[in-house]
């Protein structure tokens, strides 16, 4: 009887451990893989609503953004690299908006890991960030994305049928924005 009990205890411990490992040890999105489902609130700013084309809803998921490619930056206002890189990411946005082939087809958003609405809006104002930023105060999105360090960039190809594919998923700043945009252009052209 004692043995049965012992085995049961071991079994329960193992199951619980395994469950937790799978629950918390989420990996970052893999290249050529899918994005976990992330629900974001529709921004209050109407220019941002128009940019993402998510008007008339209260929340949306990434594949619902009207774009062929969505670039997601995972940042934090508490992260020195993200602070330093903020002007470079703004430049990336401007380059996309000034490129006739990419404007309207490639959209950029930021998600503030562990940052409250107040913290995200401070960061946005401080660095005059022109693209939409979203808060993730309780780290729930961050955990779904494998608790990556920051800054972390993910680029997702969104297909016409609503399916999607991650084609860039890397830790660290984008060092060469032109090279990065070339790669994005390649993705956009691929289906033409």
């Amino acid at each position: 009887m004692k043995n049965v009990f012992r085995c049961l205890v071991i079994l329960i411990c193992l199951i619980v451990s395994a469950g937790l490992v799978f629950a918390t040890d989420t990996q970052p999105p893999a290249q050529d893989g899918m994005l976990p489902e992330i629900t974001l609130p529709v921004p209050k700013n109407s220019a941002h609503q128009d940019y993402l084309w998510v008007t008339g809803k209260t929340s949306f998921t990434i594949p619902q953004v009207k774009a062929e490619v969505v670039i997601i930056e995972i940042f934090s206002m508490y992260c020195p690299h993200c602070q330093r890189e903020a002007p470079a990411v703004n430049k990336l946005y401007k380059k996309i908006e000034n490129n006739r082939k990419l404007k309207g087809r490639v959209k950029l958003i930021g998600i503030g890991a562990g940052n409250s609405d107040f913290e995200v809006s401070f960061f946005k104002k401080k660095y005059r960030i022109p693209f939409p930023l979203f808060s993730d105060a309780d780290f729930s999105i961050h955990e779904k994305l494998g608790s990556v360090r920051t800054p972390y960039f993910i680029a997702v190809r969104i297909n016409k049928d609503g399916t999607h594919r991650v084609f860039y998923s890397k830790l660290g700043a984008i060092k060469d924005t032109d090279q990065f945009l070339n790669m994005i252009s390649g993705e956009v052209k691929r289906d033409e």
Binding site: R6, V9, I10, C13, L14, V16, S17, L20, V21, T24, D25, T26, S76, M77, Y78, C79, P80, H81, C82, Q83, R84, A113, G114, S116, F118, E119, F122, F123, K126, A137, F139, H142, E143, S147, V148, R149, T150, P151, L171, G172
Partner: protein, 202 residues
Amino acid sequence: MKKLFKISAVSATFLFLFIAPVFGLSEVFKNNIYNPGNLKPVDSVLKVKVGEPAPDFTLPSISGEKVSLSSFKGKKNVVLSFVPAAWTPVCSDQWPGYNIVKEIFDENDAILLGITVDNIPTLFAWTNLMGEKLWFPVLSDFWPHGAVASHYGVLRSEGISERALFIINKNGVISYIKVADINKRPKLESIVSELEKLRNRE
């Protein structure tokens, strides 16, 4: 029974190892962050209260100067930010944020003093990684070990301080105390709303 205990202990360790640390996540610190795991949220008893005069102290700072709390009396509101330890996850992810909000402090006639119980060389090396030179003084409450933290009632049993915020008005009176869960970063807005309250009262 002993075996049962052993199994539980092993499972507990196993679980603990796999709980992913979410803070300290800036790339800047790379692999230099030591993760102490989840700690008891609060492990000390406050010895000061809102409405009481803040106990004065003089501590050495990483710039070489000594800083006294009383030197700000009549001039500035003071925010004391105690963080538990250099090179740990949440702490490394707190002051870099304060480093970009100098304007909020300026607008509210306030100064920030960062304090830990680490020694000066450690604080120097650690804060050097926080981007641009920090605009606020970083003070070392290393010797006598944690004396100021202990005076305020935020020294924990393992010899580190709590993650605590004290806001002291220009009259030297404590107007706000927040002893946060050591495992979590307090939101910036808690400081901002208190500073704005002080400004509106003036």
